[in-house]
Subunit: 173 residues, 2 copies
DNA sequence: GATTTATGGTTGCCCAAGGCAACTAGATGG
DNA sequence: CCATCTAGTTGCCTTGGGCAACCATAAATC
C-alpha cells in the first residue's frame, strides 16, 4: 500500500472533528501553490512539446479530438472559460492548420471542429512528449498513487464544473 | 474506507504494466482541466473574500504570515515565479497597507516583510471566507478524501518545486 | 582598500489568457 | 413578418508573469 494511503487510512480512524477544518485548510493551501505555479508549469510543458503549439492549445486539441465533432460551446462549457477566449484560441489553431471549422449543417450559426491530419499528428507528438515529462516527474511514485492523484483531481474537477456554469458569461446565466 | 481509496487499492493488484501509461495520461488530463480553470477558480474565490484583496494577493499574504520575517526571494522560490512578479504584487500589498517592508538589518539589499495589523485582520477574514467556500465545495466528501486530496496535491507540488529552480529567471540559472 | 562579481529588488516593456460588452448571423416562436 | 434567443466573433480591458536592464549592497579577489 502506498505512502499516501497509509497515512490517510490512519487518520480516518482518528479524530474526524477538528481535523475537518485542517483538511480544508490544507487543500486550500496546496491548491493555492499549484495554481500559482500553473503558468510556469504549463509553459514548461508546452515549450518542450512543440514551440509552435502554445501551452493552452494542447488541452484544446485533446478535447477536440476526444469529442468529435466538437462545437465551440462544448469547449467553453468543458473548460469553464468564456466563449470569447475559446473563439480566439480556435482561430489560432485554425491558422496553424491544426483544426478545421466547417459550418454545422444542422445549425448555421455553429461550427464543427475537427483536427486536420497535421493537427492529429502534432497532437500525437505533443501528447507523447508530455507524457514523457509526466513520467519523468511522477516516475518515482507508486503506480497506485499516480492513479489516485488522477482520480482525486478528477473528482475535484467535477466539483468545479458545477459552479462553473453561473455568472461571468460562460453559462451566461 | 472512501470511494477513491477502494478503487485505487483494487487496481493496485491488477495489471501494473499497461496501466502506467494510462495513469500518466489521466493525471495529465485532469491537471489540464484544472489549470485551465485555475483563473476562474481563483477569481471566484477572491471575489467573495474581499474585493480589495485581489485574487493573487491572498496566497502571498498567507505565505508572509507563515514564515516571518519573509523575504521577497523566499516568496519567489516558494511560488516558483520570478522576482519581478512578486515585487510588483508586494508593492500593491504595501500600498493597501496590508504589509510593511522594513529594510533587513542583516542585509542592506533585502527587505523583511511583515503583515500589518490591518493585513492580519483582512487575512483572517479572507481565510475564513475561503475556507467556507471550500467547505461548501468539499463538504460532501469523506473527510479522508479531503485529506487525501490535500496530501496528493502536496506531493505533486513538491515534485514541481524541484524543476522550478532552473530556467526562465526564477533561480536565474 | 579598491575593484570585480554576485545577489536582492525594482521597473519598463512585452505577451498570453481571460472577462465583458457590443455586435453579427442564423434559429425559433408569435 | 417581427421579436427573441443563441453561437461565435471582435474590441477593449485587466491580471499574471517573463525578460532585461538597472540600482544598491555584499562578497570576493587582488
Amino acid at each position: 500500500m502506498s505512502e499516501a494511503q497509509v497515512t490517510a487510512v490512519t487518520r480516518e480512524h482518528a479524530g474526524e472533528h477538528a481535523d475537518e477544518h485542517e483538511a480544508y485548510c490544507a487543500v486550500e493551501h496546496q491548491l493555492g501553490v499549484l495554481l500559482r505555479r500553473a503558468r510556469a508549469f504549463s509553459a514548461e510543458m508546452g515549450r518542450e512539446v512543440h514551440p509552435e503549439l502554445e501551452p493552452g492549445a494542447y488541452s484544446l486539441l485533446i478535447r477536440i479530438d476526444e469529442v468529435v465533432p466538437a462545437r465551440s460551446s462544448d469547449l467553453t462549457e468543458y473548460f469553464g472559460v468564456g466563449k470569447a477566449t475559446i473563439s480566439r484560441q480556435l482561430k489560432v489553431l485554425e491558422e496553424l492548420g491544426l483544426i478545421e471549422r466547417e459550418p454545422d449543417p444542422a445549425d448555421g450559426r455553429a461550427h464543427l471542429l475537427v483536427l486536420t491530419g497535421e493537427g492529429r499528428q502534432r497532437l500525437a507528438g505533443a501528447r507523447s512528449a508530455r507524457q514523457e515529462r509526466f513520467r519523468a516527474m511522477l516516475g518515482t511514485w507508486d503506480l497506485g498513487d499516480v492513479e489516485l492523484l488522477a482520480r482525486m483531481l478528477g473528482r475535484f474537477n467535477t466539483l468545479t464544473d458545477s459552479w462553473t456554469e453561473p455568472g461571468r458569461e460562460r453559462g451566461r446565466a
